[in-house]
Structure formats: structure tokens, C-alpha cells
Amino acid sequence: MKTPTAIEIREDTYQIDGSYYVCNNCGWLYLYISEKPVEMCPRCFSGMLTPISVKNLQDFQKNPVEKALPFQMQLVELSAAFRKFGSGIPFAPKDLTPGDLLQKVRKIYLPMFMVDTRVKAKWWAETGFDYGVVSHKARYDDNQREWTSKKVQEIRIRWEPRLGFLEREYNNVIAPALEEHNSIVSRIGDFRFNGNISKKVENLDDVYICLPNRKASDAWPDALADLQRVASEDCRKASGADQLRGFKWEPDFLNKEWTLLLLPIYSTFYSNEEGDLLPVMIQGQTGKIFGIRRASMKKAKRISLILIAFSAGLFLLSALILAGSITFPIFLVFSIIGFLFSILFCLGASIPVLLVWNFNRNKNLTEMNF
């Protein structure tokens, strides 16, 4: 299959049957256009992706993609991020290495609604105009017998009411298209929209495009808040003011058109000894990483057992030397030293387990369920 570009991902692309998948664990829907076979869900890594028919998609899930933010992390940067993620974990799981994590990296595009609309509104606000005032501070000291004075300038705001009509086209007003969007960005950080929006996504091969799971009507209040913010900023600029507060408006929205903006994230996973796959997510622009860090209890127990076995051996040896001390009293000293060391090793054997227990006790797996 030819690798499509973002420009080609228009409504017709959404008609390709057999390219849509649903996770049977978390329920996320994906568009995956690649010759590679689909595997598990790149978000939860707990469910398998099952093909679904395009007919089963709802209209809001078929909104065309208008723009996408490019993946900006290089392999070296990803590797460094994984190294940092794994560092400091006592007895880290064996596949929690930069190499393993990098090998299993998936690219996911998270959707965001973008709405274009024409707004007609009456508006009213208090606009603030900055102006400078001069003040003074002074200091007196008996020893110098004189005053020293300093001029200081302060900025004050003169508030004046302004109102008017607004009739403008507002494009690309964004609103989350996933119910989990806010939870995700709270962990991996927000995306920068200005300056680096690419009209064209170069390579969509092996990229999972996540589809909205939120209706446009549900997302509208979020878009409306953003629209109001943008409109109020425009009204401030139109008034030539430096500040604006108490913005109110009575808007009518015409010709609403919904499209999607795609946000890049990388995801990968590692497994713990119980066989759970633990997801790790990386923001595709900044490289901010999030995932549950778990230490391996199995490894820790193994070390502890070795220490206990060594301690037991030493104990037995010390007992034999103690028996020999009947003939050679000097052996008594060696046997006491042997007993002491065996006790120390026995006590020390609990340290790896305790360390791992302490590290893991506050790391709850459910945290990853965004």
C-alpha cells in the first residue's frame, strides 16, 4: 500500500475499509494504514486491535484531518529520554532498557477538533490602557547628613468601557476530541500550536491515528471558551487597549466546520515479572516522558535467596569450625567470626526485597489508565 500523506487523508481516505481498528481493552479507535500487521493497542498494551468496518464509525469520527504537528524527536533524544526514565530504579525489569524500549516504540497521533466558524456578536468589556506614573523613594542617614532620592516609574491602568459589533471568521479553534485528552496532556505536557504546524505529514506509515471518542457537540463548549478567549483578545487589540477584563458577548455562530488536528506522541512498553505490559508515553514535540516505573521483585528475590544461601553455607562452615575448636581452641575465634558474617549476610538478604517493595509500593498501575 502506498504511504499516504496528510493531504490525502481527507474524507475519501476515511472510506478505506479494513484500515480501522478498535482496542478490545480500552476501546480506542485507530486508523492504521500500513503494510505491517497490527498488534496490540499502542495506548494500553493490554488489548488486541480488532478490525472494524468504516460503516461502524460515527460521523464525528470521520472528520477530515486538516493539520498535524510533526514528530520532532530524534532516535538519540528518545534513547536519552528512556535512559533517564530507567535510571534510579533498583533491580529494573530486564526489558526496561533504552534499546528495548526504542525497539517497541509506536507513533500515535492524538486527535483534536478544530472548528472554523463565522461569528457575529455584540460585545462589551472593560479595556485597560497602561500609563506610566512617576514616584519617589528617599533615604536619610544621620551619618551622611543628607537625603538620597530615587525616581521610580510605575505602570498603572486606566479602565474604560468599550463595546461594539464583531463579525469575523475564526479558524482552527481547538477542542479536545478524546475524553482522556486533558488527563494525557496533564502528564506529558501541552502541545505548541504556533509556528510548527505542518500542512503535510510526511510519512504516515506505521503511525496509529487515533479517532475521536467525543462528539463534536460535547467538544463545542471547550471550543466556545477558546473562541471567546480569541475574540476577546481581538476586541482588546481593536480597541487599542493594553488590558481587557469582564468580556461579555452575545454571539451567533454561522457555518461551523469541524476538522481534526493531530498531535504526535510516542508510546512503548516494558513488562514486569507478572507479565503486565507497562506503557510509557512521550510527548512528540518536547520529549516529556510519562509511565509507571516498576522495580523487579523477581530479581530482588533472586539476589536475596543467593545471599541467604551464602549465609546458610557460612553458618554450617562456622559450626564445623566450632566443632574443631574442641581440638584446636584457636578455631573458636574463626567460628565466631563466621557466625557473625553469616548473620550479617542473612540480615542483608532482606535489603533487595525491601528496596523493591519500597520503590513499588506507591506506583499504582491504574494510573496509566488515562
Binding site: 455584540k122 462589551w124 472593560e126 500609563y131 506610566g132 506614573v133 512617576v134 514616584s135 519617589h136 523613594k137 528617599a138 533615604r139 536619610y140 542617614d141 544621620d142 551619618n143 537625603w147 532620592s149 516609574q153 498603572r156 479602565w159 474604560e160 468601557p161 468599550r162 463595546l163 461594539g164 459589533f165 464583531l166 463579525e167 469575523r168 471568521e169 481581538d234 476586541c235 487589540k237 481593536a238 480597541s239 487599542g240 461579555k248 452575545e250
Partner: protein, 437 residues
């Protein structure tokens, strides 16, 4: 807040749009119309206001006695519109822009005005707020456009004392002092008083001061010295500190350097509760001047006065008056200013070929100025005061060899001499100050 002044408290977007009181203004974004509150509808100020009698066409002038415009030809009278604002008169912040523009001054040396009465052109010096036509004698008030609206006179205290009363005050002032020459008593008739409005700045500021000082406390100590117990007072120095907040209200600073500081201070007790909104009628026929000391310079003088006053207040906060290593920081807050006109009568009279200046507060009649001193009288009085002491001292010296009485007389003479010298010093000082500028 302009919010309420714009009358939008009860306005609803469903109502007529835009609401009354708003006008379209420039918008820097296409597709957005912006309405702002209409500026308050003040009648456009004429640059030159002529005061002609509506009845006979003669010149009218402000009458202090009647507090209105009067025509001396036909008796026409029109009361002046008086809007008392007192200390509530609007004050202004120290905007950077205002300070710069105040420093620029009026920008011209003289300007030409055309008399609406007779058409003659008159050249008037910059800073004159009033003028009289040289040809027809009509009174004019110049309301020249200021570099900034705030720098136009906005408030004034009208004259409350008329010329007749001023002459009476001057008469008393020139006659009721023994140090003045006898021939001066009739000179007041010659003094040609000129009522004029002079420019002043008033300043308000909240001052926040933090002070620190070593304060001395007396401590009585008993010590055993030279085989006996004695008490000795020692000073124990302790560090003290404090915070003082003090509001300075209407610190008055003159806006012109054409008058003597010394004399003005003596008559500067104006009651600013009588401030009224500026009205050109009050200036008709009275000379008025705009400021020539710019706002920033006047403000500096005001700050100097304020800081010395607050320093004293801080020192008074210490637990004892014995203070050393005093230091303080001072923060001026909520500073504001006003530009006002205050009434003064000025006169110059000649006495023995010397000119002497007198000024009278046009609101309350306080008077100050130069008065020639009859030094012969002063020296005679000083001689009369010292002489008994000298005489007694001499008698005491002569009679001293003849017994104890001489000593007593000599002592009395010595005391009288010292007292006489002290009294003479003060008489000389006050007489000397009388004719100081």
C-alpha cells in the same frame, strides 16, 4: 470608575445598540466595531473671552464686593457662577507625559490677540491669563490651549477682600508700630494695589517611612567612689525602629518665582476649602499669571518639605528625644497634584526714593512686606534700655570701696545691663527684619 459613569450598569445587550452616550471610535481590526463613551459635553472654550456689558457695551469687570461682573457705566450686574469644590477638587497623578509637557512650558514668548471690541491687535507676554486692550480698555481672559488639558488652571479661590479693606489693613500695618517713621503713616494712601491671581501647585502624598535609631535612656547608677556611695546618671543607648504612615494634604508650593518667599510664607495661610471651579468671569479685569515654575520642580520642593516634616515625625516616635545614628527610608505613595490660582494684592510704595513691596492675602487679608525702619528711634530705645544698667553698674563701682551697698548696686546694674543687652538684641533683630526683602 468609568464603568458607572458610562451608564452601563443597567444596560442589557438586548437593548438598543450602541447605548446612548457611546460613539464609534477607531478600530485596528477589520470586522470589529468599537464604541467608546462620548467625552463629557463641555462648551468649547473660547481662546479669548471679552467682557462687554450686554446693556451698554462698555467694559465689565469682576467686582470683589459683589462677587460678580459689574459695569461701572450703567450699573449692570451679573453674579458669577460659583461652584465650590474645596479640598475635593480633582487632583491628578504624576503621569510621565504630564511631567514632560509641564517642563516644556508654553513654548512661545509673546502672542498676538485681536480685540473683539475694537479690532486692535495686542501683543501679550506668555503666561498672562488676562489682558486689557490698550485702545478700548476692554478686559480679556486668555484661555490659551495648554500643552495638556490638566495643565490649564482648573480651580481658584476668588478674592474675598476688596481694595477698601486692603487699604484699611495696610493703614493699620503701617501705623501700629513704633519702629516706623512718623511720615510713613500717610504713605498707605499712595500705595497702588494691584489684585492678581498667582499660580500655585498643591501636592498630596501618603508617606510610608521606616526608621531606625539609637535612643538614649537615662539610668541612675550608684557607685562607691572616694570612700562614699554616689549616684551617677548614665545614658544607655538602645536600638529602636518603627514605621510611620502620614498623609500630607495640600502642600502649597508657588508656581512663580516673581514673589518673595519670605513674605509669601507669612500670608500663605489660604483656606483651600473655598476652592471653586475655574470660571473666566473671576479673572475679568484682574491680572492673572500662569505658572513659570514647572510641575516637576515644584514637586521637588514639596518633597523636600514633606521629607523634613516626616523625619521630624519619625524622630518624635522614638521613646526619648535623645537620638543618634538615625536613619530612615521613605516611600511616597498616592502622590497627586493640582494647579490652582490664588488671589493676592501686591503694591509698591516709595519712601525716601526707595521702593517697598507689600502683599496681602486676597482671601483673608493677611499682610506682609517691607517697611522702612526709623533707626534713630530704634537706637534711642536701645540706648534707653541699656543706660540704666550702665548707670547702676558705674554707681556700684564708685561706691564699692565704701561698704557693702556698693556691691549690691553694682550687682543690680550688672543684671539690668545684661537684660538690656538681650532686649536690645531682639529689638534690633526685629527692626532689621522689617525692611528685609
Amino acid at each position: 470608575m468609568p464603568e458607572s459613569s458610562a451608564g452601563l450598569d443597567n444596560w442589557n445587550m438586548k437593548d438598543d445598540f450602541p447605548p446612548t452616550g457611546f460613539e464609534l471610535t477607531a478600530s485596528s481590526i477589520k470586522g470589529i466595531e468599537v464604541y467608546k463613551p462620548k467625552p463629557s459635553e463641555e462648551a468649547p472654550q473660547k481662546e479669548v473671552v471679552d467682557f462687554d456689558c450686554p446693556q451698554c457695551g462698555a467694559t465689565t469687570a469682576f467686582s470683589v464686593e459683589n462677587s460678580g461682573l459689574t459695569c461701572s457705566f450703567c450699573g449692570y450686574f451679573e453674579p458669577a457662577e460659583e461652584q465650590i469644590v474645596g479640598k475635593d477638587a480633582q487632583s491628578f497623578e504624576f503621569k510621565v507625559e504630564t511631567l514632560q509637557q509641564s517642563a516644556q512650558g508654553w513654548g512661545e514668548v509673546r502672542s498676538e490677540i485681536e480685540c473683539q471690541n475694537c479690532g486692535a491687535e495686542t501683543s501679550i507676554p506668555v503666561g498672562s491669563l488676562t489682558s486689557k486692550c490698550l485702545f478700548c480698555g476692554s478686559n480679556k481672559v486668555i484661555q490659551r490651549r495648554a500643552v495638556q488639558e490638566e495643565l490649564r488652571p482648573k480651580f481658584l479661590i476668588p478674592f474675598k477682600i476688596d481694595l477698601q479693606k486692603v487699604r484699611a489693613i495696610t493703614k493699620t500695618w503701617l501705623q501700629n508700630d513704633w519702629r516706623l517713621p512718623e511720615s510713613l503713616k500717610e504713605v498707605y494712601r499712595e500705595a497702588d494695589y494691584q489684585g492678581l491671581y498667582l499660580p500655585f501647585w498643591t501636592f498630596d502624598s501618603l508617606t510610608l517611612a521606616d526608621w531606625k535609631a539609637e535612643v538614649g535612656h537615662e539610668r541612675i547608677k550608684r557607685v562607691f567612689e572616694d570612700g562614699e556611695w554616689k549616684t551617677r546618671t548614665e545614658i544607655e543607648w538602645r536600638w529602636e525602629s518603627g514605621h510611620v504612615e502620614h498623609k500630607f494634604d495640600d502642600v502649597l508650593i508657588k508656581g512663580t518665582d516673581r514673589i518673595s518667599d519670605l513674605h509669601f510664607k507669612k500670608i500663605s495661610n489660604y483656606d483651600l476649602q473655598e476652592l471653586i471651579v475655574y470660571n473666566p468671569e473671576y479673572l475679568a479685569g484682574i491680572y492673572a499669571k500662569s505658572y513659570d515654575i514647572p510641575l516637576e520642580k515644584a514637586w521637588e520642593s514639596s518633597r523636600n518639605e514633606i521629607r523634613e516634616a516626616i523625619r521630624q515625625i519619625c524622630r518624635n516616635h522614638a521613646s526619648t528625644p535623645r537620638i543618634r545614628n538615625f536613619s530612615m527610608t521613605l516611600d511616597y505613595d498616592d502622590e497627586s497634584w493640582r494647579y490652582i490660582l490664588l488671589p493676592i494684592y501686591l503694591a509698591v510704595y516709595n519712601y525716601q526714593n526707595d521702593a517697598f513691596q507689600v502683599m496681602v492675602n486676597g482671601q483673608n487679608g493677611e499682610i506682609s512686606g517691607q517697611r522702612p525702619v526709623d533707626w534713630t528711634k530704634v537706637w534711642l530705645v536701645i540706648a534707653g534700655i541699656i543706660m540704666p544698667g550702665i548707670l547702676f553698674a558705674l554707681i556700684g563701682l564708685v561706691t564699692f570701696p565704701f561698704g557693702g551697698i556698693g556691691g549690691i548696686v553694682g550687682l543690680v546694674g550688672f543684671v539690668l545691663l545684661i537684660a538690656g543687652l538681650i532686649a536690645s538684641f531682639f529689638i534690633f533683630q526685629s527692626a532689621n527684619q522689617m525692611d528685609d526683602i
